[in-house]
Symmetry: C2
Subunit: 356 residues, 2 copies
């Protein structure tokens, strides 16, 4: 597909690039952003790169009232050869359209959208940090902008892509965390919006996350909304267990976000000949496997941390340690391989990586 | 409580007031709005009435990404004596703080907030229409404004109150509607955000509402997320059934919004000596009572319509008519009494009404 070169309005002044060792996630943004508008008459139109600046919206805009929004999150990495690499970005475009469908937001052309993102990154290429573990975080999002308090889908939307240089998730090396099994709050239910990347899913989890943090836990482990026994996700990551040599991850139930990292891990494990299964798994089965000494590894998986080893679970008052609180061997191999592919140091047999 | 008079910035030009017979819900707004800011250092501060105008926000503002927001909806009515009346506004302030708690948003002083709203309405009093069925809709809302992509509560917020003159919900007289029992999508789950008035709950329902509209239904009847058998709400209203002389409404389960209209109807019925019960009720029980000829009336209850009679249910392919599709006697009496109290034509024994 050929998309014509985007017209763009250059920012009159440029910001100073931050110290790559002092990057904090999602707090600093580059000089430009991508924007596009939707109306019923014109569909998605007016794609444009323009200066990163405040946006001006009517206080009655639907996003402020009924939460009609979707977003994505992916990263651009600088390779040792100074190329800028994206990891399976077409998966994020597809997922964004799946989120759109769930949230009654009009879909966009995925190839075109990816091309716009590449052109934006090309313009902002000096913002892609090169230090180990760093990257340029890419945040596309869509909001309903019609000024109307009626409870129905917006008739107009704005799509943005903003970019933020981010530091290493593991400045002190990959490190297992303690997580808390949440029994009271739910993140998402069958028939709800859990499979979509929409704002409301995330703020709905703040209470539980706060409770977990206050008791010394890094993340919440979410159970299903119905029976409160099936494992769903951990924080904003998918979850994997290695039990007796087999890797298990909860199947996509409708309330779980289909992670790109999750998908890649499944494919990697298959290529390595490691048994990997997507199926329902109860928290009781996890505890039971721990009791029997068969719970070998556990980790979260997502774009932010890539792989986040789980060192211990807390359920009610009981605590269960995994791998003596150390990072498991397979967990480490997955982390090294994925980050290696993402940054071009490990051969990309899968054709996952796209150069900008 | 005495709150000092708000300072305000007058709009340089005033809009023309709309034709009261052509008001569309939530599309036109008055000349001024109320705003207040929250920061950790200063708490809620800088209360102000200022011209209704676009607001300017960083594209990284948390509201655009993680949906941290709450809102309320209440109405100001013009009485025959030209007073401006509010209906139990302190209940909306309380509920807004309950929503705040669920969404990890800092609470405000309820009395003070109500006083600000009254002062705003006083300034905009000429916008309160006086024709039968019309009112001035009041929409307070709070959004997380910190520019930060971290998944955690915002450290700064803005609170707004905007006002919109609204027409009669029933320009052609109160009229029973057909509703569809939703079996696939869920609105809210136990442990989720259903008891809070937060944006994400509403856009989550668009898909189901669309499906219902396409098959000729006015609203969706929501079942519980867990067993898909308990009745929860209808559209954005609470629901009531009259079965064999007894009025039944689902008990507040955590996934149901505690409506001010619901509460008032329960209190009214009690004062009338009509048996009224808050309890779990399955859709099967409703159908069964219909089969036995005992389902006498059914209606939704909320600020927008006050009372909305249900003329028929569709479940899968089966349709069940209530009261031959006519408005029930008790439904009508509740509607007349509530709207009468709201507009000052029926004596307010309960002290529900507050003059601005
Ligand atoms: C709820 C949730 N689950 C899982 C993931 C992991 O998805 P991915 O691997 O595509 O980053 C994310 C986010 O990135 C998420 O928000
Ligand atoms: C989901 C939901 N249920 C019920 C209601 C009814 O509440 P109230 O009577 O306070 O208007 C509302 C809104 O107003 C609502 O949004």
């Amino acid at each position: 597909m050929t998309v014509k070169k985007l017209e763009w309005i250059e920012a009159p002044t440029k910001k100073e690039k931050p110290d790559p060792n002092e990057l904090i996630f999602g707090r600093m943004f580059t000089d430009h952003m991508f924007t596009m508008h939707y109306t019923e008459e014109n569909g998605w139109h007016q794609p444009q790169v323009r200066p990163y600046e405040k946006i001006s919206l009517d206080p009655a805009s639907m996003i402020f009232h009924y939460g009609q929004s979707v977003f994505e999150g992916l990263k651009a990495y600088r390779s040792a050869d100074n190329e800028i690499l994206l990891f399976r970005p077409e998966e994020n475009m597809k997922r964004m359209n799946r989120s759109n469908e769930r949230m009654s937001i009009p879909s966009f052309n995925e190839e075109e959208m990816l091309e716009y993102i590449k052109q934006l990154i090309e313009i902002e290429k000096d913002w892609v940090p090169g230090e180990p573990g760093t990257s340029l975080y890419i945040r596309p999002f869509i909001i309903g902008t019609e000024p109307n308090l009626g409870v129905h889908p917006s008739h107009s939307y704005q799509l943005f892509v903003i970019l933020s240089p981010v530091g290493s998730y593991y400045p002190e090396g990959i490190n297992p965390v303690k997580i808390k099994v949440e029994k009271e709050y739910t993140r998402a239910a069958q028939g709800g919006t859990g499979m979509a990347k929409t704002g409301g899913n995330y703020s709905a989890g703040y209470n539980a996350q706060e409770k977990a943090s206050n008791s010394g836990h890094a993340q919440v482990l979410w159970l299903d909304a119905v029976e409160k026994k099936y494992v769903e996700e951990v924080g904003s990551m998918n979850i994997f267990f290695k039990i007796n040599g087999e890797v298990i991850t909860p199947s996509l139930s409708g309330s779980i976000l289909e992670g790109v990292t999750r998908k890649s891990i499944i494919e990697l494990l298959q290529s390595w000949g490691v048994p990997v299964t997507e199926r329902k798994i109860t928290i009781d089965e996890v505890i039971e496997s721990h009791r029997e000494g068969k719970l070998e590894e556990a980790f979260g998986a997502g774009t932010a941390a890539v792989v986040s080893p789980i060192g211990a679970f807390t359920i009610d008052e009981a605590q269960y340690q995994v791998q003596d609180g150390e990072t498991g061997e397979l967990t480490k191999a997955l982390y090294d391989t994925l980050t290696g592919i993402q940054t071009g140091t490990v051969k990309d047999h899968f054709n996952w990586v796209t150069e900008v």
